[in-house]
Amino acid sequence: MGAVDVTKILVANRGEIAVRIIRACRELGIATVAVYSEADALAPHVLLADEAVPLGPPEPAQSYLHIGRMVEAARRTGAQAVHPGYGFLSENPDFAAACGEASLTFIGPPAAVIRALGDKSRARRLAAGVGVPIVPGADDPGTGEGALREAVLRLGLPVLLKAAAGGGGKGMRTVRDAADLEIQAQAARREATAAFGDGTLLVEKLIERPRHIEVQILADTHGNVVHLGERECSVQRRYQKVVEESPSPLADDAFRAALGEAAVRVAQAAGYVNAGTVEFLVDDRRNFYFLEVNTRLQVEHPVTEMVAGVDLVQAQIRVAAGEVLGLRQDDVALRGWAIECRVYAEDPEAGFAPSPGRVLHLYEPQLPGVRVDSGIRAGQDIPVHYDPILSKVIAWAPTRSAAIRRMSQALREYVILGPRTNLLHLRAIVDHPSFAAGDLSTQFLPDHLGEWRSPAPPLEVLAVAAVLAESTRQAPGSSRRRGPCPIVASPAFADPWDRLRGWRP
């Protein structure tokens, strides 16, 4: 393929992203090795790959986060390269380094780049150094509460406390009142230590109702860097993205060019290689501020793929193999509009508490322009040990309003019975007039859907439920296992009710 001959790739992840990577490899004619924990023995990514290697017990530290076992699995199966996906080991510089030491090609940036950009304070300094605006703040105010208080008073309230090593909202706290500072800082440190093993905090001036807009970049080992436009990911719950789209309804050509150019400058300053994302916050006057760089494939990468016409996973593999980017900035043109909704195993009726369990029935939407990146199958037990993301629905259409209509219809047709999911809540988001208006901020959900409840079942639903119940239930007092229910079919024709009964597990 290039400088490195890649014929077999180990996919160091699970769920929908592992499935996505395996599919990209298959298209390129590259063999795949899946890895799995005891909780994932018959998961879709395991069944789909050409080979699968068990890692160990379900706990992430014993399986998907275990660098030694991961490298050993690659060595034993003869894979030349490792794709880390997102989460788990994807932004762990030690893993990238361990791959290098084992003569495995890590599909991502060099370990030193991951390390430098993974430190948020360092990344901020790097961006500021090349003239990219950053959110006013204090890097590394020291571990003492006194130093922190001083930094906060200097910036002025409200502020945001963040884990320097963080991501995904862990260790993030808003402070509006100086009296809350100590208690919030302690909570943030505790969370940061638990999640990242590092309690270092940084303080930023809070931007009220910001939009979250990020730029996809792609860089090869020959010094070429391009950006593939922006994604808006403002609809978030507890700092977790829920709905993403590309392009951003806020961006015009000039804004896109300025943002993209800033992202490319950061990437070049960092010596970036492979696919990455430069995240920005945008205030209500369309000023943008550098936030951080994610040195991996993003969950929401498909919206960029749909509008830019680039398969990012395949591009990552080619770059890692040493190929030259076959794409100049002038070649990049965004076409149409793409929206992604993340489907989580969460119960919206119970404060979005995780809802693992067995998938009893699954039906995916089949509509033109709709793509489902899924990591689940019917009959699978969704484990409690990992992220609650089940799948992603991506809808593409020539215009934003058409993409919204398509998404709404796709969410309506998507059926997952078993774990409770946020499918209906997602539809409430994309059907909301403020969403249609493109009036987004990271406060979208609390602002518009804070009081949202799923509608109570209408009469016809209760009627259907009652009839189905009577067709499947047992006679009172009889054991569940003791044969069919007492409804007797006429011998003259095959009663569909009998067939209903046969489906009971």
Partner: protein, 171 residues
């Protein structure tokens, strides 16, 4: 032909129903309303239902006492019971702490014998990278606790709290 009576529980709501079936047709009375239905199985888990003349595609599955239905873009969950006296439910001592979701008990913050007050943190249940703090709902003495690392189902008792005998005196 016979009429079957039952009770349908959905969330906190309980609705009595009556169903009369003949072949693939059925008449269901729910509350004061009557609906005429016909049901045609299409593939496992999918039914074509005609409801008062309107075509519906219904997805359904059962899981122990749960029946799950997906109709017109929304999923509903029901439990069924026969009409008559309410089903006997396992009685649990008031004040026991139940897991808020299926997960793993990651930290136990109390020991048996320890007295706790309302609102005291008792343990942490973690699932899908989310932590949930379980707090005491009334004062009492901890009788039994779950070993950290134990995987629990939603609603499982994670901490057993005995009501303090001198509860009233202490107020």
């Amino acid at each position: 032909m016979r009429i079957l009576h039952g009770v349908l529980a959905c969330g906190n709501q309980s609705v009595p129903y009556a169903v009369e079936r003949e072949g693939i047709a059925a008449t269901a009375r729910v509350g004061d309303c009557e609906v005429i239905l016909s049901v045609h199985p299409v593939t496992p888990g999918i039914l074509a239902v005609t409801c008062n003349g309107q075509n519906l595609q219904v997805h359904w599955a059962t899981d122990g006492p749960r029946t799950l239905l997906h109709i017109k873009g929304q999923t509903y969950e029901f439990e069924f019971g026969r009409a008559g006296p309410g089903r006997a439910r396992a009685q649990v001592a008031e004040g026991d702490l139940r897991a808020p979701m299926p997960g793993v008990v990651t930290r136990m913050l109390v020991r048996p014998g320890q007295t706790v007050n309302t609102g005291d943190p008792l343990c942490v249940v973690e699932a899908m990278k989310m932590e949930h703090l379980v707090r005491a709902v009334r004062p009492g003495r901890v009788v039994r606790v779950t070993e950290p690392g134990t995987q629990v189902e939603s609603g499982a008792i994670v901490v057993e709290v005995e009501k303090a005998a001198d509860d009233a005196d202490r107020r």
